[in-house]
Symmetry: C2
Subunit: 745 residues, 2 copies
């Protein structure tokens, strides 16, 4: 039925194109009218091909056993993937890297006082879940890249263990110095927690899943529902990826067999204290044994007792020892050569490695990418000739630290810098609404794409459905969702394989996926993220797998076939201006908060509200931040705004005229937003507009050099960074001026 | 030490008054300069007298046994109080009323399906708490004025059971018709919950204390801490007091022995369905047995499982049978006759009855009132002669339904209407900051009072400490707290004995108490609200008991001695204008929300965001509310504003001149704000500016006739009520015009 409808659509389009029907084919940016009609026909054919039944079958195969880096089934999956693509007639290769990947030898958390308790640190097999019992193949509950160590110390609860929590502890007059901290998952990427714990003098770090954010409060627990059960734990990497991702021993260069490597003790991205994750069943006795102050209201989780901060009387002994071997990783790289511009590359990727069985993460995204590849192979057989080279990437080693993508990008940096048009990433998929993030020069383009994809549940367009969701659930985005023809996209932080592309090289990137209707999340990085869970609680019919394949595949084809690359900078400049406004407001807010607190100290507010039964130290007065000079940035944005306008006018005036010269410039437009020196203290991150936060990890910091300098109260650095970003934007303006000139030649 | 300081203060004041020291005595509104100096001397003497040690002793006596209405110890306490005052040389009488007070004969909640469970409905004795074991004297866990009944039905969880929750259920497509609802305490006064349950067709109602709002989430539980333990339950009245409080059989008239009474089945204020309270230990198995939809995120409590709405599969059988006897109640009324204006009465009250032992509620307030009385008696012996009559009231039967105060006010309505200057209420006390609510014509006056009281912990004034708290914790009140010389006070809803005074008769009222530093609350309406709890977790040294006595006593003396009553209407008019603005904004918000929802329906938002796995009914379009005519209210406020200005000018011009005529008018100024017809559907409530909400119970609705008509979408009524309130305010303007003329005669 669905298949028939799709065919009918293609048929009616052909009739329109042939017979010049009354309703013209909607134009496509970067395409002449006839080219747009042809492109739309190929895209319609493409979108009819991905098949949910195939994706279900692929998922069952790929997630049948644990397949982390270094496991037999990881290699086996890579070979199977390569073989599949070869079978479909495509050029598929496996590229191997040699990376540091610690696996646990000893893991211990035990409470010595006031009562003895030993944490299980283990997820039990469930009778109903057929793959949950593959214990000998599973990576146990641990944090990859935790430092080895053994410590015994009083325990202290630090909420999420993010900077605001340490400020709150300071206000309460409590120090974590010499203690073992226990933090809830949430509030930041997990790797931030041991990093901050170490910065504040703690000796060790435990991270647990509180049922408030990730357990029975969210919904019925697995296997009755999709929420995390009491004994479920979240593995994960704690590598200090905001400094650099990828192999810790080869920063900035590919981890090839013969690469020059740092000695282990010089690797910057390994934690400074030992750290382990645990379930809420394991955490409960530890937290319950804490005394001291009752935790601030916002810190309290959902375990059934009063949360206290400590420190002590709970005293904990923890030990982490890893096997620090190097392991091979297997990226599967599928290449469809471009017929006209073979040296312009459109890249699309999803990782294939998992923490355990990984049905949702990453297999639900990988199977969509497989069907995209199969469908493109089918189009090639039917005579489709993409102008540009298309590269489909199945990354290995994403989970431990974006290893596969980072090492590949570092290895091929020169070629990618010259040739990469854009990178489109996914990392899993579920049921519901599209989620989109990426480079804002592709924002209008992605709107054009999502306007052409049908939502399988409502039969409206994916774009329309997302706008209706924004109208219903985001009152402050309502006016925009109603008035704008485009769909706004978020900026990218980190957490998936686009990182090296966008942040290190400056390749325009998009990350996408569907979700929002099912709860999910309770399986994340657990042995229960498997075929049974996915087919009971997530995109059970794989229709959103098909929609992901249709969306990403349409984007890839449209980029690959365009005469003029459909980058558009009007939304980019609007967005960056918005970031500048945000930063100005943040600076003003920070200034007024410090002024307010100083004033309150003078007024005696802290003396007047001090409870003699619970005395806490009064805060000290702080210097008021200086005003910063935003004028260079204002001027650069003004200049860039004029260049954007000029470029847009040239595009309109150029009409049907294609221009290879302008494409060469456009390919460099995102590269121009990077700076060789990189961000302060983390030179690997070279993009001046987007970066993951140094203290958020996944969460993006836009115009990061300026924003983080302000947040961390380094005023001179903030002024210097404003100048550097301004110069970068002037360079972008220059590029667009030249691109406009190319078009009008 | 403290006593010495107080004496020193008095001494230095005397020196100032006698020797005309450089710093003049601060003026007092309503007092000539010399009268102010004398008054201040008496007040200083007064404030040195209340003694924490006495209050501790009184509390131990009054709370030694359960003393609810109808109990032996309730009568015994009344007699002891009267005897004490007589001993101190004052005229004390007991006034007896004869009221309907149901006590339980049968209480049953049991689950029949899917598992059998019988709720204990009982709070256990604790070894550490010496009065908790007085079981034979304790009123069991129940809701007074629940209808008798026996029902068996599926259970359904309705969050707080307030109007917004029933709207949410409607959105989810779930009905409570024919079900037994279980609601959390909180979100409204408890009596609202069975009222709404019955309005929506439920057959019974259970109210439990969820540990999120009232249990281990708040802090360590009793007896280790002050939070409610799992087996602690909140008794309380569920009489429909927003219709009328007091004896259900004698609305509007005093429940004297020979009063004409309604037959029981015609009493409007008894619930329409049976209702019982329970602890979270009792509620846990019931809630855990619910199926159906997972409860909306905001509904979820802190019990350790996923909250579901139901209905069923839990099936509950509940039974409530009461003994519907009439019981005598004993108000203790102490009278200090006025030397100059004996027919102008300043009233001060606190109830003496409790649900069980009631150390905090009401004894901590009652013992402060006792010390006020003892101190006034002492001043009389020293030669102080209050101009006006002072009446100190220890009410009985407050807990079941404000019985003692309501019946007394109704009995003495004519005399009070003629003579009552103001009523000052308290209902318990704790440690920390002053909390003040009341008539805004007394707002400046109470600022003057709190500016003269020392906070025992910080030694700053009570007013200053409260302002510093507002600065620290209420950013939106910060500017006001900094810039204003006065302390703003809240409007009164209901929940204590001021209700009949202000709402029924229009006697200007103030309610006050201290708190905010200790957790408290876990003992509320439980057997654990006793001397052990109070002296371990609340105002353990009774220094805030003394501060309450100092504050309320100073207010009483200052009102009793003033030459011109210190009513001031500038803050009143400012406040009422603020209420009008709020109501206009609420009407505009309601209109725009309905318009928004209608628009979303047209846009297909609900179709586009419907999850086919969890289909819920789409809302229907609603008529857009009409614009209301606020012009009459604007005009009346404008007129009143001019009269207030004129009155203030006259006060300034009158200088030293006292005026008995103006006092007679001022006494009527709050009465003028009432209307004989009362509020729509509840004529007992006659104040046009303040009333407890029909669907909030405790929470105030200001300009209630207009506000509730808008909230309940009765537009014609809203317009009519605007006219009525406008006429009332015109009457107030007229009174002030005449008062101004009196002063300038």
């Amino acid at each position: 039925m669905r298949h028939l409808t799709a065919l009918l659509l293609v048929f009616s389009l052909c009739v329109q194109a042939a017979g010049q029907a009354a309703e013209p084919v909607r134009p496509l940016r970067g395409y002449k009218a006839d080219a747009a009609a042809t492109e739309r026909q190929w895209e319609e054919k493409f979108r009819a091909l991905p098949d949910p039944a195939n994706m279900r079958e692929y998922m069952q195969r790929l997630s049948a056993r644990p397949h982390h880096v270094g496991s037999a089934y990881d290699e086996d999956n890579a070979e199977w993937l390569a073989a599949k693509f070869k079978l479909w007639g495509l050029d598929a290769k496996i590229e191997v890297f040699d990376v540091l990947f610690p696996t646990p030898k000893e893991r211990l958390v035990e409470m010595l006082e006031p009562v003895r308790f030993k944490a299980k640190l283990e997820e039990p097999a469930l009778a109903v879940d057929p793959t949950s019992g593959q214990k000998e193949k599973q990576l146990p509950v641990y944090h990859a890249y935790s430092k080895d160590g053994e410590v015994t110390a009083p325990l202290i609860f630090v909420n999420y263990g993010v900077p605001a929590d340490y400020e709150e502890l300071l206000r309460m007059g409590i120090s974590v110095q010499g203690k073992i901290v226990i933090a809830k998952y949430g509030g930041s990427w997990r790797g931030i927690k041991p990093k901050l714990a170490a910065e504040h003098g703690a000796l060790g770090c435990i991270i647990y899943s509180d049922p408030k954010e990730d357990g029975f409060v969210q919904g019925d627990v697995y296997p009755n529902g999709a929420a995390r059960p009491s004994f479920g734990a979240q593995r994960g990497s704690v590598m200090d990826m905001p400094v650099y991702p990828g192999d810790p021993l080869t920063p900035g260069v590919g981890a090839t067999a013969d690469a020059k490597r740092l000695p282990l003790d010089q690797a910057q991205t390994i934690t400074k204290v030992p750290v382990l994750p645990m379930s809420y069943a394991d955490a409960e006795p530890l937290l319950k044994a804490l005394g001291g102050e009752v935790a601030p209201a916002a810190w309290r989780g959902a375990l059934p007792f009063t949360y206290h901060v400590g420190p002590g009387p709970a005293k904990v002994h923890m030990k982490v020892v890893s096997n620090w071997d190097r392991k091979p990783l297997y990226n599967v790289i599928v290449r469809i050569p471009g017929a006209v511009y073979p040296d312009e590359w459109v890249l699309r990727g999803n990782h294939h490695d998992a923490w355990v069985n990984g049905a949702e993460d990453p297999v639900s995204g990988a199977v969509a990418l497989m069907e995209e590849g199969r469908a493109l192979a089918e189009l090639l057989k039917q005579g489709w000739k993409p102008k540009r080279t298309i590269i489909l990437c199945f990354w290995d080693g994403e989970e431990p630290g974006l290893l596969g993508s980072t090492e590949w990008v570092e290895t091929h940096a020169a070629e990618l810098t010259a040739k990469a048009v854009a990178y489109i990433n996914s990392d899993g998929n579920s049921r519901g609404y599209i989620g989109l993030g990426g480079s804002h020069s592709l924002e209008n383009f992605m709107s054009e794409v999502t306007r052409d994809i049908e939502d399988p549940e409502t039969k409206m367009t994916v774009m329309k459905r997302r706008q209706l969701l924004d109208i219903r659930t985001m009152p402050d985005k309502r006016a925009e969702a109603r008035s704008r023809a485009d769909l706004r996209i978020g900026a990218l932080g980190s957490g998936s394989d686009y990182t090296a592309f966008i942040d290190h090289l400056g390749v325009a990137s998009i990350n996408l996926g569907f979700g929002g209707e099912d709860l999910g999340g309770g399986q994340y990085h657990s042995i229960y993220d498997d075929f049974y869970y996915y087919t009971h609680f997530l995109d059970t019919t794989f229709v959103y797998g098909r929609t992901l394949a249709q969306t990403a595949g349409t984007a890839v084809m449209r980029l690959a076939d365009a005469e003029v690359l459909p980058f558009q900078f009007s939304n980019f400049i609007e967005t960056v201006k918005g970031y500048e406004t945000e930063i100005k407001q943040a600076a003003a807010k920070q200034r007024s908060e410090i002024e307010e607190q100083n004033r309150e100290i003078d007024e005696g507010v802290f003396v007047g509200t001090l409870d003699p039964k619970k005395p806490v130290p009064a805060p000290s007065k702080e210097p008021v931040p200086p005003f910063l000079n935003f004028a260079p940035l204002d001027n650069a944005l003004d200049l860039l705004g004029r260049s954007v306008e000029k470029y847009e006018k040239s595009v309109a005036a150029a009409g049907d005229k294609a221009s290879p010269a302008v494409n060469a410039r456009l390919i460099q437009s995102e590269r121009k937003l990077t700076e060789d020196a990189g961000l302060p203290n983390r030179p690997w991150f070279r993009h001046t507009i987007y970066a993951p936060g140094f203290y958020t990890g996944y969460g993006v910091k836009t115009i990061p050099g300026v924003r983080e300098a302000i947040e961390q109260k380094r005023w001179a650095e903030a002024d210097a960074q404003i100048l550097r970003v301004s110069r970068v934007l002037e360079g972008e303006a220059d590029l667009l001026e030249k691109a406009a000139a190319d078009l009008t030649k």
